[in-house]
Symmetry: C2
C-alpha cells in the first residue's frame, strides 16, 4: 500500500514537472515574423510582460520539480529544499506558494491571449491572431499545458496536506 | 485571550469584507466618455472580460464575507454555509477557493490594466490611459483595494488552518 502510494506520488510529480517544463519550452519557442502592409514585425513571447511572467513562474516551478524528483536524498541541496519546505511550520510551503503563483501567471497570460484573439474594440486594440496564427496557436498550447500543471499542483498540495494531517487525525480518533 | 482572538478575527474578516466590496463598487462605477478626433467612446469596465471577472469574483467573496459577519448563527442559511465550508474534510474550503479565485482575477485584471497604461507596441495596441485618465485611475484604485483583499484572505486562510490544526498538534505533543 505504501509502495503504491509512493509510485502514485512520484508519477504525479513527474507529470507535473513535465507540464511546467513543456509550458516553458512551448512559450519560449513561440515566435513568428509577419508583414502587414509595409510593416514587418516579429511576434514573440518576450514582448508581453504577462507571458514573461508565465515563463518565469513555470521555470522556477520546473527547477523545484526537477530537484524533488532527481536529487539524491543525501545531497546538501536537497536538505536545503526540505528545510525551506518545512519552514512554514508543518505545511508544504512550496506547493502552496507554487499553486498561487501558477494560478496568477496563467490568469494574466490568459487575459492577454484573449485580447490577442478577440481584440478589445472600445480600447481600439485589434486582434493579432489572424496575422500570426502559428504564434497564437503555440501560445494557446503553452496555456493549455500550463493549465494542466495548475490542476496537478493543486492536487499535490491537497495530497500533501492530507499526508501531513492523516497521522495526526488517526492519533486523535 | 480567546476574546482577543475573536475580536481580531472579526476585525480581519470585517476589513476583508470592506475591501472586496469597495473593489466591486470602485470598478463598477468607473466609466468615462472621451472623444478622439471624431470618434466618441465610453470606457467602462464591462467592455473588458478580465475586469468583469474581477468584479464577479469580488462580488461573490463579498456576499460570503457578509454572510459570515452578519448572519445570526442560528439561521438556516448560516448552517448551509458552515456545512459547505466543512465539506472538504476538515479544511476551510471557502478561504482556499477564494484565495485562489481572488489571485486569479486580480492577475488577469492587472495584465489588462498594464496594457492600458503602457500599450503593447509589437501588437499595435496603443495605451488608452492618456485619453481616459479618470477611468484608468479608478481601475487602478480598484486593483489596489483588490490586492489588499487578496493579502487579507491569504492571512485568513493561514489563520484558519492553524486554528484547525493547533488542537491536533497540542494533543500530539
Amino acid at each position: 500500500m505504501a509502495e503504491t502510494k509512493r509510485i502514485f506520488t512520484f508519477l504525479l510529480r513527474f507529470i507535473a514537472f513535465c507540464t511546467t517544463l513543456s509550458a516553458v519550452i512551448i512559450m519560449v519557442s513561440s515566435r513568428q515574423r509577419a508583414t502587414v502592409l509595409v510593416f514587418s514585425f516579429e511576434a514573440k513571447y518576450s514582448d508581453t510582460p504577462a507571458f514573461k511572467y508565465f515563463v518565469i513562474v513555470n521555470a522556477i516551478v520546473s527547477v523545484y520539480g526537477f530537484l524533488v524528483l532527481f536529487l539524491p536524498s543525501k545531497s546538501l541541496l536537497w536538505r536545503l529544499v526540505v528545510a525551506l519546505d518545512a519552514s512554514d511550520g508543518f505545511f508544504p510551503f512550496f506547493y502552496k506558494v507554487f499553486t498561487i503563483l501558477l494560478t496568477s501567471s496563467i490568469s494574466a497570460a490568459l487575459a492577454i491571449a484573449y485580447v490577442g484573439e478577440k481584440g478589445n474594440p472600445i480600447a481600439g486594440w485589434l486582434p493579432i491572431c489572424d496575422q500570426v496564427t502559428k504564434y497564437c496557436n503555440q501560445v494557446k498550447g503553452a496555456l493549455i499545458v500550463g493549465f494542466v500543471s495548475v490542476v496537478l499542483y493543486m492536487l499535490l498540495f491537497l495530497y500533501s496536506l492530507h499526508t501531513v494531517l492523516n497521522p495526526l487525525l488517526l492519533e486523535k480518533s
